[in-house]
Symmetry: C3
Subunit: 203 residues, 3 copies
């Protein structure tokens, strides 16, 4: 139950991040909704396609559609206020990343794939929606630019795998994994930590 609420919250914040990016790119109302939906559902759809779940779960549950659409419409209607909440959106994006990475890894583990496969699929689920959003708006995806993005997802996925091996309660694992992802993202954004860039690139 807690997990469902958290997942719907993740959908809402990912949809909001997509819709806000669409408003900035001056798309119309439908484009805003389409991009919000794509950002929110993209990661889960990729996860289910990789795992062979047909049709993807996020296309089969009505609340999974309604929540992102409503979130996108709210952004469209109130975007100046939302844009001012830029920090809140970054936080929400981090929450979404954590939740989808954790639930993606857990879903994969439940289908008896090897641990590293589950980590990869969980990271893909967490990162996929935002990558689609950036691709559609012709931007280099944040996962490739923003430091410690993929690493944060990897940390969350590893927590789920280790917790699963140690037979921790699933709810505890989900909370610890998600919180770790959010913490890593928040701290690195706050401290402006960067991973090293290769030196002396002659373009």
């Amino acid at each position: 139950m807690l997990l469902v609420v958290l997942e719907l919250a993740g959908l809402a914040v990912f949809a909001a991040s997509g819709a806000l990016a669409a408003v900035r790119a001056q798309l119309d109302a439908f484009g805003v909704v389409v991009l919000g939906l794509t950002t929110a559902l993209g990661g889960g759809v990729i996860r289910d396609v990789l795992l062979g779940v047909h049709p993807p779960a996020s296309l089969r549950n009505l609340p999974y559609l309604v929540v992102p659409v409503v979130a996108a419409l709210i952004v469209f209607a109130f975007h100046p206020q939302v844009a001012r909440l830029r920090r809140a959106v970054l936080l929400a994006d981090a929450v979404g990343l954590g939740l989808f990475t954790v639930s993606g890894t857990a879903t994969a583990l439940a289908m008896d794939v090897p641990a590293y496969t589950a980590c990869l699929i969980g990271m893909t689920a967490g990162i996929g929606g935002g990558a689609l959003r950036d691709l559609l708006l012709r931007e280099i995806p944040l996962v490739l630019r923003r430091e410690i993005y993929a690493l944060a997802a990897l940390a969350g996925a590893v927590v789920v795998v280790v917790g699963h091996r140690l037979a921790w309660p699933a709810g505890l694992v989900a909370v610890v994994g998600s919180v770790l992802v959010v913490l890593i993202r928040v701290v690195t954004l706050w401290r402006q930590w960067h991973a090293p860039v290769a030196r002396g690139v002659e373009r």
Copy 2:
């Protein structure tokens, strides 16, 4: 039979739209064929991947490959004439959008998915090929820019779902749904109707 002819026509016009865009981007002959094929087959491949049809139907039927290749080559050879037919291409694109949305929705319904899932998958089938074309050419997909594009697809998908519930003949449903999509696209292009854009965006 009518449906097969219409679907092949849809493949041809989508391939032509991809090939024309490729000619404009100054791709070579092979690039034109590759982009034409991708535009024509993309929507159906995405639909079948979501529904778990392996390998996708559009990769298993020889006419589904021959028709787009021939259409792309014709565009490559005669492109100035085709380019002058810009309105015909826009009309054809609308026909393709209608046909693939309708056939995608009907295919999904036949696999016993919920109605809204069928609508989503049908819209994806109709929109997918053109979105791939624009992504590969580094353009923001038309579905995000051109007003009433996604809405037209949604209208066609809803007609199929309602007709299916009311047990209308499948052929009638397909025709009504496709015609409605084409009508919406033609009227909005002709009247230059736009959906609202968010006001006061500070970029």
Copy 3:
């Protein structure tokens, strides 16, 4: 055994091409690894999604993950030397294209799909990783720009299909197909052969 070694070599060279492109785009260390992995695994993942192999084989074999990561890290650490080896990288890219096209076609044929379906899936497997790499970096994919790229892949795929029909030994078919792809790429790059571009494009 030879095939496994060749496939791992293909993964390494594709990962190196992705990592080198990422270094040039000034991504950080994680971005370099993510793009290297995506380039190396992309084609195989797309192939398995189209064929319904869940989860994709390249996500289930640890060496398939370790080799690209190591290759990407080596590029990140030693990129000036690697960049100077530009010809070697182009050769390696051709080898990867050949190997993945051949193994993709053979994998598809083993699942009893029609010959042209196997060719299409094999070409997609060979081309897919590089196309993803270019998409993520916002470039028009090489397959659409570089002449004789898709054709080289097609030639390799046809060799595999013909060899399969004639019941040649699988190893021989793989070698002949891969070598043919590499030869076509090398000769066309060396002689700077181009496919025709449509004349008189008014943009």
